[in-house]
Subunit: 163 residues, 2 copies
Amino acid sequence: MPRDTREPHPDKLGGAPHGKDSVRLELRLLTCAALIERRIAGRFRDTFDTTLPRFDFMAALDRHGALSLGEVSRMLMVTNGNVTGLAQRLKQCGLIESATDAEDRRVQRVRLTPEGARRFKAMAAAHEGWIEAMFSDLSAAEREDLLRLLDRAKHSLREEAHP
Amino acid sequence: MPRDTREPHPDKLGGAPHGKDSVRLELRLLTCAALIERRIAGRFRDTFDTTLPRFDFMAALDRHGALSLGEVSRMLMVTNGNVTGLAQRLKQCGLIESATDAEDRRVQRVRLTPEGARRFKAMAAAHEGWIEAMFSDLSAAEREDLLRLLDRAKHSLREEAHP
DNA sequence: TCGAGATGCTTTAAGTCTAAAGGATTGTGC
DNA sequence: GCACAATCCTTTAGACTTAAAGCATCTCGA
């Protein structure tokens, strides 16, 4: 076998992995994420006249109760300025309510209104059905493997960010 | 074992899979994608003063030569209006050049300028290194498994979109 | 030929997102 | 007390993204 080829095959003998393989992995992961996001976003728009970021915001509040904007910002992994804008629009729609924290008046604490909680329940149920359908071709074993490997990947990504 | 629990365990006996498991899979996949995108986008900004969508645009041109804006739109899975704006900014920076197709004057054909090609090479090399570092905790076998499962997932997602 | 529909691109309005700068409030060291 | 830094949030400018409407061009059938 030639030592020097234009299209190197994957190194199967434990040598250093090729960067191209990582890039293929990255591309496939981002492609899957884009397919999910665009499809789910379209359905949220058509069915509930809302957006994915607003759903994520409401999901955090549904799960954790009242939160400061900073906590929401960290959970959604977005900037403070971003959650400020999202909170203003959600409040405008009457889906959340906010109040200045009594103990620290810098803090804005937000939570779902009863109407917001009701709307979120309906959205979450529909979302679960959409996602289930999108992964319907994968067996239970494949889902478990994928979940585990993505967890490994997540830790590798975080590790590289904060060594 | 009780038949009715508040926290149902995964169904290991081949019954219908639970929607919650799919949602966990979705969340983890989108989280990994977000971690990659935010980190890479930050480095593109700091190192090359550019953005991820512009890199993706240039990558398509580097790979396929001259393309119509519609072809770019389909490759990047974004709307036509989006690529119009990206192309205008890239042209402004002198990284791509465009010309009206001689055979069909509706078509705008774009390609990298020599300067654009040079810049892209440097960005691609850096990008490959960043990605390789981000996945460095995963073994070659794990990468292969993950790549294969993501391919299965991609086909399941596309299948659901166009049955 | 010529008109209707299809196709490719652009524009527009609105939402999402970031980095950077700024304002209000709190905590700390002296 | 009191300056000063840290923390929390908001504002701003700019980039990205979409859906929808609109313009230019092409194709095809009558």
